[in-house]
């Protein structure tokens, strides 16, 4: 799949933002006043910034409101509904903390649930696609939720929880990669099943429909970017978990925490780039490529 920057930025930032909102929502002793403002501002900037970024790849962003209508069948529509509902509920919860100094725990828990539900719906947009076997697994939802909770814990200053979750997320990520590497072969789709010509022998693409790449090839086939995939996996794990754990273990303070956060975000973005760049779509079969 083509790794579109808008979607990488969206899933990376929104995931962390909604993860932060979830942690702030269930906090028994949440921050109040200006400190609360700072935390919620960062969380909203990430969550909403990511959502806005995701509209950049739309052909007609001015019609985006229509995307709230088909929640009965569409995970993308459900994501929109959950995101807006979550942001509204947490908004009230945050306003009470910031301006009134009042803690409304029930509102917080509802907001936290909606925030995590938003991350889950995002993961299902990818996880539902049978056309991309690497994504088509419940593990994709586990992966997205793990990343969101980890980033959220890190950015809300829950150091010991964050270290544990960084290790858990590393394990989930490795499991997801190992499963993903076998997923396409396990699904059994090949140029033989794609053309129905398997009974006659081995099928080979000898001529593409047109002489130069088309939308389908640009969108679904991304062979070049996979060259350094293994190295990038290691880099992403070091940035996402290794460095942050090291920094947080050395010293707990603002500078180290900031460095840990920046490293983590860079690591998550690298992992998300790989999420798209390594994904192989069945359309590639018709072009003799994956």
């Amino acid at each position: 799949m083509h790794p579109a920057p808008s979607v990488i930025i969206f899933t990376t930032l929104s995931g962390i933002g909604f993860g932060m909102l979830a942690w702030l929502g269930i906090d028994a002793t949440p921050p109040q006043g200006w400190v609360a403002f700072a935390f919620f501002f960062i969380a909203y900037a990430l969550a909403v910034g990511g959502l806005i970024s995701s509209t950049f790849h739309l052909g007609h962003p001015e019609r985006a409101l229509k995307a709230f209508t088909q929640w009965r069948t569409s995970w993308l529509s459900r994501e929109g509904v959950c995101a807006v509902a979550g942001l509204c509920v947490i908004g009230l919860y945050a306003a009470a903390l910031i301006f009134l100094g009042t803690h409304l725990p029930i509102l917080g828990w509802i907001g936290a649930a909606l925030s995590l539900l938003t991350v889950f719906t995002t993961s299902m947009i990818y996880g539902q696609l049978a056309t991309i076997p690497r994504w088509n697994t419940p593990l994709t939802s586990v992966l997205y939720l793990a990343y969101a909770l980890t980033g959220g814990a890190l950015l809300t200053g829950r150091v010991s929880i964050a270290i544990t979750l960084l290790l858990v997320t590393t394990a989930v990520q490795i499991m997801w990669w190992l499963r993903g590497d076998k997923a396409f072969a396990d699904r059994g789709s090949s140029l033989e099943t794609a053309t129905g010509l398997g009974n006659l022998g081995t099928v080979r693409s000898v001529a593409h429909p047109h002489t130069s790449p088309n939308y389908l090839m640009k969108e679904f086939i991304h062979v070049v970017g996979r060259k350094h995939a293994q190295k990038l996996r290691i880099i992403s794990l070091i940035l996402m978990a290794g460095l942050p754990i090291l920094l947080l273990s050395i010293h707990v303070g603002h500078i180290f925490a900031l460095l840990a956060v920046l490293s983590h975000v860079a690591g998550v973005a690298t992992s998300r780039w790989l999420f798209f760049a390594e994904a192989e779509h069945t359309v590639g079969l018709y072009y003799g490529m994956r």
């Binding site: 209508t69 009965r72 006659l200």
Partner: protein, 256 residues
């Protein structure tokens, strides 16, 4: 509405005969022509006269080589367009309701006024049947020429999809798969019409007819072979003499 109908009254679709298709791409051109001039946004081209021309097509013809040990390789031309699946994954993922499958005839369509161009339906389609038009920013797909097949302004003979009407080899057939007596149902039954990527459970309406088995030749060589005179390897006669004399003179260019 992106909920798929439980069943459709008709199941309009195509039968594509891989035995007959000659790979001329006439269906590609007629499709592009009709669908640029009629229903919905035109099918745009980008850089059409440049190094890497690109454009939106609702129908594309691939060419494949099939090899099997002990047999000669076969070339199979393979036209591919929307299969109007009964279990269309492209429809249910649409967030706006722009994509829908019609209850009355099973055609899968896009209401371009509602399409936000998110591209998710193209991701959900295993076959590459949907293409995001780069100029209009909306999703384009085969409409089964919905503006031809019911169009009473056209002569009756033209009330079929443009690709079917134009195919010079008769490799494309249009009809109702819900009617067991229709031409397409009979062809599918007679020739073993098949689904593409059945493992993905999309239940395509369009069927592909496999190439017929090729006949074989049981003799060692052609029966005409003994009557063919051997081809002269050396030039003879006046031209042969001239060639030899000229070769003796210096100044010939080296040839590979």
């Amino acid at each position: 509405m992106t909920t798929l109908p439980q069943s459709t009254e008709k199941k309009l679709g195509l039968v594509i005969d891989l035995d007959t298709c000659v790979g001329c791409h006439a269906c590609v051109i007629s499709c592009k022509g009709w669908n640029t001039e009629n229903y919905g946004a035109p099918l745009s081209d980008q850089n059409p006269y440049g190094d890497e021309p690109m454009g939106t097509f609702l129908n594309r013809v691939h060419s494949y080589e099939v090899t099997s040990p002990g047999e000669t390789a076969k070339t199979v031309h393979f036209p591919k367009s929307c299969l109007h699946c009964e279990n269309a994954p492209c429809v249910t993922v649409c967030p706006t309701g722009a994509s829908y499958k019609r209850q009355e005839d099973g055609i899968v369509l896009v209401n371009e006024k509602d399409c936000i161009g998110c591209g998710l339906c193209a991701w959900a389609c295993p076959y590459g049947a949907r293409e995001l038009d780069q100029a209009e920013g909306v999703m384009k797909k085969c409409t089964l020429c919905v503006d031809r097949i019911y169009n009473e302004n056209l002569p009756e003979v033209d009330r079929t999809p443009a690709c079917v009407r134009t195919c010079p080899a008769g490799a494309r057939h249009f009809g109702d798969f819900a009617d067991p007596e229709s031409n397409v149902s009979k062809l599918t039954a007679e020739r073993g019409g098949m689904d593409l990527m059945p493992e993905l459970n999309t239940a395509p309406v369009n069927k592909y007819l496999p190439p017929r088995p090729k006949d074989t030749w049981d003799f060692e060589e052609s029966v005409l072979a003994p009557f063919l005179a051997p081809v002269a390897e050396e030039t003879t006669g006046f031209l042969g003499w001239l060639d030899k004399q000229l070769s003796k003179l210096p100044g010939d260019k080296e040839t590979n």
